[in-house]
Amino acid sequence: MSANLIFHNIDEPGLNTLEVFQRRGGYGDRLKKALQMPREALVEELKASGLRGRGGAGFSMGMKASFMPKGAMDKYLVCNADESEPGTFKDRELMQKIPHLLIEGMIIGAYAAGANQSFIFIRGEYAQQADILEAAIDEAKAAGLIGKNILGSGFDLQMWVHRGAGAYICGEETALLDALEGKRGNPRLKPPFPANQGLYQGPTLINNVETLATTPFIVEMGGAEYAKIGVQNSTGTKLISISGHVQRPGNYEIELGMKSRDIIYGLAGGPGEGRSVKLWFPGGSSSPVLTGDDLDLSYDFDTLAKAGTMLGSGAIIVADDTTSVVDVALKTAEFYKHESCGKCTPCREGTTWTVKMLQRIKSGEATPMDLDIIASVCERIIGNCLCVLGDAMAMPVGSMVKKFRGEFEEYIEARREESERALLASVGAVA
């Protein structure tokens, strides 16, 4: 069943303006309520809601906020709007159509974190959305919703939009912080975690756009009430982006725990006439792939984890039976090879090596033994890297080689014969 919380009225003209947003209840009683709650009580509400990070890792937002140290010091809230995972485009629509919801969520998030300074790190390609956000921030500032003593609560907050330079790695939270500080966007070692030493070494709460945009509803409904939406450990609604071989691609808001088939076929219309789902990424291109046999899985964090994959950012990419798995694997690997920052060895060298092997398969110069090497290289990347980018290539590619090994082998044989024939023909032509 689809749900309607964040995206309620999403297509109403002018929802991106303060006036319409306020008319629809934005910045109203729920914000006042949040700012009048003691900070700890707000964090407790967030915990009670069961809200898990919507950016990919799925860590409890309330827990994360509770890690922020108490006491007077410079603390920061950073909104991760570097939405770059292939297949993911939910935050883009959210920021474009209801920027004030994000701003309201950031005020609540910053209050929960005890932060007086906040940043929205938005990917450079989202220029239009950044413009919209900046305009919205100006409106909110003029209305006294950002700045000193918000709604008479005594809480101060400043907010800036920072445009990234277009590197996928800057969506990794510590690389994002480095980039925000003006450095090369490379991931940092963890620990220390951002809640202890984040932006400018200060305690920092980093959350995804959707996560922050959900908080006003949690305040409005109360954490316990919000937790009733969805299923256990996967509460609330989720924005999902469906793309690939479906008839109605786009963003949908669902209640977590919906059956995957209902999403892919019900909401998105499934693949075209006469085609079937061959494989699908349940949570962005970094999630291990599932097959057409897995369509009855409940779409929630725990079920997908149990199936060896993950909900990730909620981006479903569907490939139908006309697609070659080799192409999917190569495309995926090439993306991560291109985006690897190069800081740690397994990711830098492992992604490059995997791409070279897959290219060799494509060009008919591989043997089935190379599949073992790809599998082994992927295994050797997973868990050994500085951040999760290496894993983000190794997990889906590794899963494809494992689940579609037969197809890979057939492909290798076919391409080898083809290239041998071509070679003989060229020799024959010369002779």
């Binding site: 590197a167 070692l189 090879k337 985006e339 740690c344 060298e349 060799r360 050797r380 050994n384």
Partner: protein, 906 residues
């Protein structure tokens, strides 16, 4: 911040119980249990670990993922596995990944045989290769600089060199370009990486990606021998390891000593070894014959020197400097005093011996590591990167890692300004007034008067005093000074005793006398300035600051030679024409001297023109003996190569010379000279060559030594008298030195790190040998209508030097700075205190004309065309790179102005 005191904990590694300091990184703690964890990117000298190479992955019970041992602090009860199948698999994986794109060109790689990548591949690698793809290719090798070659194919992107440039030397030149597997190390815009400490990246590189161009293809590890000694090219006295092949030094490596150099070397120390084998070096005794110096036998040189000196009994004076060892200084002062009837010896020109004695008190001494852990460090009247380079890195480290508060008080803008919480400027010539003003500001006396005389802002002086007084903050009480280290240039002491008095007063006022982790640290002019003085090479003092008969100081010796009261001069590793502040005066004195004996490695001007006998001096690779570091550490020199050509041990030369003068020194080995020295210097008690070993001993921190220090006598002028004398009556431009008022500029001088004969003769370093430049503020340049890069003459009273204009955005107005210690056009020919600048190309008629006649020149300049180019951006002087246009042709263009810009001025 004070040094932390760690708690000891117990952890288990591969089944062994090991004790270690809490929070030590696991990779270091493992060594205590004899477990080696392989690393590439980890290097604690570079600061916080980055965890990039992933070579050190280990399993820690209770943590699901493998952890990098380089970044995991060890905790009590931790259980670590480094040998199990899971860890081995990860280690093999990382080695395999590192090798997939490595060219494996070990047979032609300089690093072969001493390569961590080779060692770790052997020790932890899988031993087989599955990679059949084409490898990554780069153009190679390229000149990263005239000194360093870069081979990007070999690079494993461990980040060490970039971290060094960014976080240790802070020259900010090396960066990583591109991303992923295409990442490569380089400089912005590919300009050459020229910086004072650039060579350290060669040693840091764990593969053969960065190699020394002078050493490239000269030797393999199995061809070489080596020896540890001490670099004698500056007062830093860094510990070095010399690589030797066939009796030639081929390379200098750092021999890490945390108490001295922290494991770093400057490029002068690293590459000037070539000077040892340069053609310019004096390697045989020489005698002046028919007006020119000719090589002769030792017999003849010793004989002539002895008979001439003997004839002039009672009229012989001596100067010592440079890398003179304690023993050499001790023996020469014996010869002069015991065999030649002289008392006129000096090794610290312009500085009262009494002041040196007073400031050498053990309870005033700070050590080098104190710079790193103090609450506050004051850099006073010295530019560390030029005067004692390695200390520059130590100060930066303290500020960066331990939040040391840094104050800089100099007349010339300092390269440390960017790191300083407070920078205060005073006018050249205002040093004494400044220091006495600081004493007054700390004690609460008249600050405005001295500040005016010093040409400095009185409020800045008060802020400085406040900062020094309150560095440690206060827990519920009034703030205290805590640990303050004052690093002062010994040249401040020149000319007046007030500075020494004021420094002592400041130390007293800050309560740092006898305080552990705090005190004063001098930057002497000569490498072994402290040791030479302690060995008795001072007027009125015998060895160990034991008072003796009065003698002339350097200025008195020059006067005496000019007046004929003295007739002979003994020069021990010093050339007053190059090293003193008064070149014309010494030129006249040497001209008048009947006989000059010199120990020298190179024929610098004074030696070449005036010496009657030259004894070849040993280089630090050949010498044995001891030096005393400015912080009181007695360090041992050990020969690494045989003496070149005719060079003999100088103790032996001195013993032979003394014998011919009927003085039996009784020195038959180098060690005997040390024994005599130690017996003569009370506070060296207990020091033996064995005890010094490879790391030396700080006598101010040893028990018998510190007790035996002779108490300095009170200043006859009294504290206040000396302080009053330190405050000159004028600080402005009244004493005009024959220069018109209008164009007059105050003259300040500095000596670059590269101003030394070794840099001039070492082929690899020649391109860095400085040429005279005049640093001037943009406003002055505009007023005088001189442009950046323009050739000018600077001087007054008819004496000028040629220089190139260098506009510095943060140079103080009304003051120019010129270099000393350089071969051509050194500023020490100028009398000062005021000079004027004349454009060389535009007004040739004025050159050499009496300065007063050039009166109207700067004024009329206002009507001329406005300078077409804007003043170039400020560059950090310490990382000055503009000399590079004399570099080998491999370097394209001049890398000027690439260094970081401390104040963001442009």
């Amino acid at each position: 911040m004070p040094r932390p005191t760690p708690r000891t904990i117990t952890f288990s590694i591969d089944g062994r119980e090991v004790q270690a300091d809490e929070n030590m990184m696991l990779v270091d703690a493992a060594k205590l249990g004899d477990v080696e964890i392989p690393v590439f990117c980890y290097e604690p000298k570079l600061g916080a670990p980055v965890g990039a190479c992933r070579m050190c992955l280990v399993e820690i019970e209770g943590i699901p993922k493998l952890q990098t041992a380089c970044s995991t602090p060890v905790k009590d009860g931790m259980v670590v596995h480094t040998q199990n199948a899971r860890v081995k698999e990860a280690q093999e994986a990382v080695v395999e990944f590192l090798l997939v794109n490595h060219p494996l060109d070990c047979p032609v790689c300089d690093k072969g045989g001493e390569c961590p990548l080779q060692d770790i591949s052997f020790g932890w690698g899988g031993g087989k290769s599955r990679f059949v793809e084409p490898k990554r290719h780069f153009e190679k090798p390229l000149a990263l600089s005239p000194l360093i070659a870069i081979d990007r194919e070999r690079c494993i992107l461990c980040y060490r060199c970039v971290r060094f440039s960014q976080e240790v030397s802070e020259d900010y030149q090396l960066v990583l370009h591109e991303r992923g597997a295409a990442t490569y190390v380089g400089t912005f815009d590919s300009h050459p990486y020229v910086a004072p400490f650039s060579g350290n990246i060669i040693e840091l590189c764990p593969v053969g990606a960065l190699t020394s161009r002078p050493y490239r293809f000269r030797a393999r590890p199995w061809d070489i021998e080596g020896g540890g000694t001490v670099c004698t090219l500056c007062p830093s006295q860094c510990n070095v390891h010399l690589t030797v092949r066939d009796e030639r030094v081929l390379r200098v490596l750092a021999r890490q000593h945390d108490g001295v150099d922290d494991g770093w070397l400057c490029d002068k120390g690293r590459f000037a070894y070539q000077a040892i084998h340069a053609d310019e070096r004096v390697t045989a005794p020489m005698v002046r014959d028919g007006g020119v110096l000719r090589e002769v036998s030792w017999e003849r040189a010793l004989g002539e020197a002895a008979s001439a000196l003997g004839r002039m009994h009672g009229k012989v004076a001596a100067l010592a400097g440079g890398d003179t060892t304690n023993e050499e200084a001790f023996l020469v002062q014996r010869i002069v005093r015991e065999a030649l009837g002289g008392q006129d010896l000096d090794s610290a020109p312009g500085i009262a011996a009494r002041d040196l004695h007073a400031l050498a008190r053990p309870d005033l001494q700070a050590s080098v590591p104190d710079l790193e852990f103090a609450h506050t460090v004051l850099v006073l009247g010295t530019e560390p990167v030029d005067d004692m380079p390695i200390v520059d890195l130590r100060i930066r480290k303290g500020v960066r890692r331990n939040r040391v508060k840094l104050a800089v008080a100099t007349s010339r803008p300092s390269s440390l300004d960017a790191n300083a919480a407070l920078s205060v400027r005073f006018a050249p010539g205002g040093e004494a007034a400044f220091v006495s003003g600081l004493a007054a500001a700390i004690y609460g006396g008249d600050v405005d008067g001295p500040a005016r005389a010093a040409g400095c802002d009185a409020d800045a002086l008060r802020s400085l005093a406040e900062m020094l007084r309150t560095g440690a903050g206060g827990n519920d009480g009034p703030p205290t000074a805590g640990d303050v280290v004052i690093l002062y240039g010994q040249r401040l002491l020149r000319g007046t005793s007030g500075v020494a008095q004021a420094l002592q007063k400041i130390a007293g006022g800050l309560n740092i006398v006898g305080r552990e982790g705090a005190g004063l640290l001098a930057v002497p002019d000569a490498t072994n300035g402290r040791g030479i003085a302690e060995a008795g090479f001072l007027p009125g003092y015998g060895p160990g600051y034991v008072a003796g008969p009065e003698g002339r100081d350097a200025a008195g010796i020059a006067d005496g030679l000019r007046d004929g009261d003295l007739t002979a001069l003994y020069l021990l590793h010093t050339d007053p024409i190059r090293d003193s502040g008064d070149a014309p005066g010494w030129d006249a004195a040497l001209e008048k001297a009947s006989y000059v004996v010199a120990h020298a490695q190179y024929l610098t001007e004074g030696v070449r023109e005036h010496a009657n006998v030259v004894f070849p001096a040993e280089s630090h690779a050949e010498k044995e003996g001891t030096l005393t570091h400015p912080d009181g550490r007695v360090q041992r020199l050990r020969p690494a190569i045989g003496r070149q050509d005719q060079v003999r041990p100088e103790w032996q030369v001195l013993n032979d010379l003394a014998g011919r003068l009927d003085l039996d020194l009784g020195v038959l080995t180098g060690a005997m000279a040390t024994t005599q020295l130690v017996e003569a210097v009370p506070f060296y008690a207990g020091i033996t060559l064995n005890a010094l070993g490879g790391t030396g001993l700080r006598w101010p921190a040893t028990d018998p030594g510190a007790q035996a220090f002779p108490e300095p006598a009170a200043d006859p002028a009294g504290t206040d008298g000396a302080l009053a004398a330190a405050t000159p009556s004028q600080g402005g431009r009244r004493e005009n030195g024959g220069v018109s008022d209008l164009g007059a500029l105050r003259l300040g001088t500095f000596r670059s790190i590269w101003a030394s004969p070794e840099v001039e003769v070492a082929p690899a370093l020649k391109f860095l040998a400085p040429r005279q430049k005049v640093e001037i503020a943009p406003a002055d340049a505009e007023r005088l209508d001189v442009r950046h890069g323009e050739a000018v003459t600077v001087g007054g009273d008819g004496i000028t030097v040629d220089a190139v204009v260098h506009v510095r955005a943060n140079a103080p107005e009304g003051t120019v700075f010129l270099q000393t210690g350089i071969a051509d056009g050194s500023a020490n020919v100028l009398g000062g205190p005021l000079v004027e600048i004349v454009g060389r190309d535009r007004e040739p008629a004025v050159v050499g004309a009496p300065a007063a006649e050039a009166d109207a020149e700067p004024d009329s300049a206002g009507d001329d065309t406005v300078p077409s180019e804007a003043p170039t951006p400020e560059e950090t002087d310490a990382h000055r790179t503009d000399e590079v246009d004399a570099s080998p042709e491999t370097v394209e263009g001049a890398p000027a102005d690439q260094a970081h810009n401390p104040e963001g001025e442009a």
